[in-house]
Amino acid sequence: MSGFEQLLKLNNCKEVREMTELTLAYGIPQFQKFTVHIQKYNNVTNSPELRSKLAELPFAYIDSKTVVSIEQLSSAVYKAVLESEYNRMRTRNLHSECILSLSPSSNIGDALKTFGLKEDSTDLIVIKITENNKGESFDGNAFVKGDLVAISNEEFASSADIETIKAVCIH
C-alpha cells in the first residue's frame, strides 16, 4: 500500500467517524427493534436534485425551518412508529409518515409541503429509521451536499422559523 493510499484510507476513516459522531442515533424504549438516525445539514446546495429523487430515497428529508427542538422531532418519529406498529400508516412508508406526524393536520399534501424538503431549502434534517433484526443500517450517506452539523436543541432552534411554525401549528 502506497503512502498516498494509506493517507486516503485514514482520511476516509476520519470522515466516517465524524459522520457517526454527528449523527444522532437512538432507540425508542417501546419499540426496541428500530433505530432512529437523525442528521442535520446546513448550507445544502442540491435540494432540487434531492427533491426530484425523493420517492426513491429511503430517508425523510425535513425542512429545518419547521423544527425547533429534538423533542418535536422525536415525538413525530414516535407517533409514526406507533401508527405503523399498532394501526396502519396513512402514507407509503415510515419516513413520509414521520413528516405527516409533524403536522397538526391529517392532510398529507399539506404536511409534505410545509414540513418536507423544498426547492429552496438550505438547512435540512434527515431521518432514517432502520429495523435492527433485518440487518438494515445507516452508513451515514444521505446524498445531501451540505455541511453536516451536530444535533442539538440549540442547533435546531437557530435554524427554525418560529413564525412559520406558529402559523401552522397554532390556530
Partner: protein, 263 residues
C-alpha cells in the same frame, strides 16, 4: 389493583420502561416512570425527572370491539383537550408528551412534589390539611385565589373540567409560592353551557366543605374571588357571563349536581 392489568401494559411497553403505580380510578391507572417514551436518552438532561403514564385498561365486561373504540375515543379526547388547554395563556395544565390511543395510554409530565413532614403529595387537599393550624394565612389565601383564577380562565375559554376536586388540583412550588395546576381531564369537555360550569364550581365547593369544613366558607370565598377576577378583567362581556354563571351556580347549589327529571 390487579397485577394482571399491570402485566398487560408492562408487556406492551416492554421491560425497558419501568412503571410504578401511584393511583387508580374507575377508568384508569396512573403510573410514574423514569423513562421518557421517545426522547433520545443522550439529550435528556435532568436524570431525576419522572413521567406520568395514564393507562385505561381493557374492561372485560364490554364487548372487545366496543371496548377498543371507547378506549381510543376517550384517550384521544382527553389528549386533544389537554393539548388545547395548554395553548391558553396563563392556564396551567400538565404537558402532553405522548398518546397511544390503541392501548389507552397518555404520557404526561410529572407535576408536584411531596409536602414536608409527611403531609403527602402536593395537591390542594393535602396543602390545606398541612396549613390547618394557620388556615387563614396569606399563603393559603393567595394560593386559593390563584386556584380560582385557573378555574376562571378555564371557564372563560369555555372548557369544563368535569371532576373538579381538591385532589385534582396540584400545587407546584415556585420559590415561596405555590402555583396551581389542574389535572385529570378525563371528564373534561368543551362546553358553552353555564350548567356544566356551575356544576364544576359546585363540585369543588362540596369537596372543600367535606374535607375542610371548619374553614370552608373562607376557602370558597377566596376561590370565587380569584374566579371573579378573570371575568372582571374581560370587561362587560365577562361581567355578564360571570353574573349568569353565579346565578346558575346558586341554582345548582340548591338542587344539587343532578337536575330533576320530574316535569
Amino acid at each position: 389493583m390487579s397485577a394482571e392489568i399491570i402485566a398487560v401494559i408492562a408487556d406492551v411497553l416492554t421491560e425497558s420502561i419501568p412503571l410504578t403505580p401511584i393511583s387508580q380510578g374507575a377508568e384508569a391507572v396512573v403510573f410514574t416512570s423514569p423513562v421518557h417514551p421517545y426522547l433520545p436518552s443522550s439529550v435528556k438532561h435532568d436524570g431525576n425527572k419522572l413521567y406520568i403514564l395514564k393507562y385505561r385498561p381493557e374492561k372485560k365486561y364490554r364487548h372487545p370491539d366496543i371496548d377498543k373504540a371507547l378506549t381510543k375515543h376517550r384517550t384521544l379526547g382527553e389528549s386533544k383537550l389537554l393539548a388545547k388547554l395548554r395553548l391558553i395563556d396563563g392556564l396551567n395544565v400538565p404537558k402532553l408528551i405522548g398518546c397511544d390511543p390503541y392501548h389507552g395510554c397518555i404520557w404526561l409530565e410529572f407535576l408536584g412534589e411531596d409536602l414536608p413532614d409527611g403531609h403527602g403529595f402536593s395537591n390542594l387537599k393535602n396543602f390545606l390539611w398541612m396549613n390547618a393550624k394557620d388556615p387563614y394565612s396569606d399563603l393559603v389565601k393567595e394560593t386559593l385565589i390563584k386556584v380560582g383564577k385557573q378555574i376562571g380562565l378555564m371557564h372563560w375559554n369555555d372548557y369544563c373540567h368535569g371532576d373538579l376536586t381538591t385532589s385534582n388540583i396540584v400545587l407546584v412550588r415556585g420559590g415561596e409560592e405555590w402555583v396551581p395546576y389542574l389535572i385529570d381531564f378525563g371528564l373534561g369537555s368543551i362546553s358553552m353551557l353555564v350548567e356544566d360550569k356551575g356544576v364544576d364550581l359546585y363540585v369543588l365547593e362540596r369537596a372543600i366543605i367535606s374535607t375542610h369544613s371548619s374553614f370552608s366558607d373562607k376557602y370558597n370565598m377566596w376561590i370565587l374571588e380569584g374566579f371573579k377576577e378573570v371575568f372582571e378583567s374581560n370587561g362587560k362581556v365577562g361581567l355578564k357571563k360571570y353574573k349568569d354563571l353565579t346565578k346558575r351556580f346558586e341554582e345548582v347549589r340548591l338542587r344539587g349536581r343532578k337536575r330533576s327529571m320530574i316535569g
